[in-house]
Subunit: 114 residues, 2 copies
Amino acid sequence: MASKNIEQEQPPGGEITLPGVLHALSDPVRLEIVLKLAESGEIACGCFGLAMPKSSLSHHFKVLRSSGVVATKREGKNWVNSLRRKDLDALFPGVLDSVIAAAHARQKMESPRK
Amino acid sequence: MASKNIEQEQPPGGEITLPGVLHALSDPVRLEIVLKLAESGEIACGCFGLAMPKSSLSHHFKVLRSSGVVATKREGKNWVNSLRRKDLDALFPGVLDSVIAAAHARQKMESPRK
DNA sequence: TGTTTGGTTTGACAATAATCGAACTGTATT
DNA sequence: AATACAGTTCGATTATTGTCAAACCAAACA
């Protein structure tokens, strides 16, 4: 059942919205995830060296998936994530690239709130 | 006192964060405000034709200000807003431009939540 | 079949954020 | 001085979100 939900979770390209994508990218943890995906192509969820419980990480991946930023597939017993570059570049040209470049330039990403 | 707070509200360039900016841009109302500012240069708050109470609008302007996206100045009895293009382009090259272009391309901006 | 592995789902709680009415402040006009 | 005007601030309410522990599930392997 887990895998079925995951499939339903990922919106087709036409339903991806700009505010949704920006919101997904507006969290420091998720931004770091996106950054690593941009560098490494495809990664399994666990390989992010982020000090968080699995459930928190899973939540962030869910936000990234349901906003259309990342795609997740089963591959053996791992879940492999990748950026939906094609879709995003077609819908919002330059947005993902510039955000990644900016985040990469300054690893100093403080929280937006408080 | 209102005007004094407004000055303190706007962070210097060095304190503008990428997640903060993305969060500010992730709301449809604020995105529309930014879009109009991009087209028209400087505008007073009232001239946005948005169907909201003043306090709600003011809230959105506050978020935009405190994230560093817009600057607000008194001019006579109006408050004049403008995008902080120079700061944003220096910090996050291409981000604001591509977001504005994407938002402009598709006025169909649905809410990120729900 | 049982167990480990990698990640999801659920449920609960705390923190943030959006919305609105009402009171307020500074500027200009009379 | 009194009033109008533009927008802010306050306070309360509601909706979203982030965080975590615990239970769960499917794939791989013993």
